[in-house]
Amino acid sequence: MSAADARPPALEVRGLTVSYGRRPVLADVDATVPAGTLSAVVGPNGAGKSTLLQAALGLLPADSGRTLVEGRPARAALDRVAYVPQRDAVDWDFPITVREVVEMGRYRAAGWFRRVRRSERPVVDESLDRVGMTAFAGRQISQLSGGQRQRVFLARALAQQAPLLVMDEPFAGVDARTEAALLDVLTAVRDEGRSVVVVHHDLGTVRARFDHALLLNVRAVACGPVAEALTPANLRRAYGAAGVPGGAAGREEEPAWTR
């Protein structure tokens, strides 16, 4: 973690409650993502992780509660955020090239009604380069593998040059090589003083690579530095005694039958 800074938290939610119909999905969640950290949102399936991200950014109506980005109401601070939705949410047969997807990251800054100016090109080039997709810039997106698609999504977010990166399940269904490469990029982004929030499943990776974690199961079970948040006791509270991935002790080892 870079010098615990005096900046306001990158993302803060207070008393956030969201329900779908009559079923609560998030109940009175308090959470803070300190500025300049690589933060994970972890929790069992159906814990409300994706909902939390969307509601925290004001993309989804909340029943009650407050959400702040850099101390300002989230809806008013969307220009400070680069949001990466789940990969499956889009039609990958859409007639568009890799480069055009990344250029979408510049539209808001460059103006929705103007052509992408020449001065925007270096930003797009650099974003493609950071995720290793330069050689694929002209490809139609349907020709990409799952890992390459996730790289394109990250490149688009990088092109937005926002101080807060919010990613929903970027590593789901991605090969090990891509996951490692993307984590390196995210770590570098953190080291530039920006903040990154990632929904993630793999507790082992979270322990090894992340600074900060929110353990969620409809309620916020724990929120803090990884070592303090992901204690065996907290994990049992979030996942139930039998359900902790890697066993009740919260070790990284998987049971043999999952290999």
Partner: protein, 416 residues
């Protein structure tokens, strides 16, 4: 527009029909791209069917067959139908296809009942309202064409202005929302454009088949390009061409225009779906066959090699493959000088030995990649090309893989 009509080397009425049909084809083609990419083409269908009662009500209210008031009636009814479909989807547990089915059939039936009622009144002014069912391009007059051209020009301007916001919303609505774009407003705009295109085509192509003018150009265009800008242009051109050809043909043969236009369009789509390079059915079939042959060839070669220096009978090379395929593959290999047949069976030639070794080396590399791929840094997002693993990974990565994979069984003819 008038100058264009005069300039065409056609009799005046044909020139009017051709120009009108070209304009409506262009418009439907452009708007159809949005509808197809949004997967909302059936909303277009419901909308055009619902325009029919709109036309009937407008006639009953106005009492005369005035193009503008009929089109306004169609537009209002079409919009209502689109809103109704959305409302059914959102407010109840009705799925989109069901909601569309209910609205489409309900509103169309209402239209038929109203048209029958109007016909029964014996009002002389109502002749020709039936044309709104299957379309009749011959009835187009110059004023219609001018109106169509103005609406088409407006649509082109809106598309050009909103090109980027619309692209983002179409491709990734969640991302679009996170950049603060007004999603609902943009969806409303594309629905309005759809209404305009349907209304313009209604008289010429007819309520029943109008959806084809929306779908056909976009589907054909998607087959030949992977870029949205090109797709819009191609769809516009295809729509205009199909519209013009179909209208002239139907006028000459005195058939309803809608079916003729749609038959032509269906032909274009079939051609595009089967022949398009890289996407078409024929292209896929050829690639599948090539892959299958190559797999058989390499498999038989390796199996002959594994049998050792002694000749092997074709029947021993089955391994789950149909024996006819094995024999055919052996004959091809012999033609290429890779195997030879002796009385006792099949054996490799020197060239065949070399080819088998190359196949095994390639398999070896694949196994090494699957086992150790994650440890080999290739520096970018490169991924193995199944046809050319070594070429796609680069010499350096291949060398590292070979070193890592050194524990695998050695490449040798007899080892098995």
């Amino acid at each position: 527009m008038d100058a264009l009509i005069d300039a065409l080397p056609l009799p005046y009425t044909d020139a009017v029909v051709a120009t009108g049909a070209a304009v409506l084809g262009l418009l439907a083609g452009l708007v159809g791209v949005l509808a197809v990419l949004r997967r909302r083409t059936l909303v277009g269908d419901a909308l055009s069917h619902a325009a029919l009662p709109g036309v009937a009500v407008a006639f009953l209210l106005a009492g005369v067959k005035d193009t503008v008031s009929l089109l306004v009636g169609a537009a209002v009814a079409g919009t209502l139908a689109a809103v109704l479909v959305l409302a059914l989807e959102r407010s109840s547990r009705v799925r989109p296809d069901t909601a569309i089915g209910v609205v489409l059939s309900g509103s169309f039936s209402l239209g038929i009942v109203l048209l029958t009622h109007i016909a029964a009144t014996g009002d002389a002014g109502q002749a020709g309202l039936q044309d709104y069912l299957f379309g009749q391009a011959a009835g187009l007059v110059q004023a219609d064409v001018t109106l169509f051209a103005a609406l088409a020009a407006g649509t082109v301007v809106v598309l050009a202005l909103l090109h980027r916001p619309l692209t983002v919303v179409l491709f990734d609505a969640a991302f679009a929302r996170s950049t603060g774009l007004p999603i609902r407003l943009l969806e409303l705009v594309s629905t309005v454009l759809l209404v305009v295109a349907v209304v313009v085509g209604l008289r010429t192509v007819g309520a029943i088949l109008m959806v084809a003018m929306i779908v056909v150009p976009a589907v054909a265009a998607r087959q030949v390009t992977g870029r949205l800008a090109t797709m819009l242009v191609v769809a516009g051109v295809v729509g205009a061409a199909v519209g013009t050809a179909g209208s002239l043909l139907s006028t000459a043969t005195r058939t309803p225009t809608g079916p003729v236009v749609v038959l032509l369009g269906a032909g274009v789509v079939l051609l595009a779906l089967s022949l398009a390079p890289g996407r078409g059915v024929l292209w896929h079939a050829r690639r599948l066959r090539r892959d299958r042959r190559r797999r058989q060839r390499e498999g038989v070669l390796v199996d002959v090699a594994a049998a050792g220096p002694a000749p092997v009978a074709a029947s021993a090379l089955g391994a789950g493959r149909p024996s006819r395929a094995v024999r055919r593959t052996l004959r091809r290999l012999r033609r290429d000088g890779l195997v030879r047949a002796t009385g006792a069976g099949w054996s490799l030639t020197a060239a065949g030995q070399g080819a088998a070794t190359a196949v095994l080396a390639r398999r070896e590399l694949w196994w090494a990649w699957l086992e150790h791929g994650a440890e080999v840094a290739v520096g970018d997002a490169r991924e193995p090309d199944p046809d050319d693993l070594a070429g796609s990974l680069g010499a350096e990565a291949v060398e590292r893989l070979r070193a890592l994979g050194g524990t695998a069984p050695a490449v040798a003819g007899g080892a098995r």
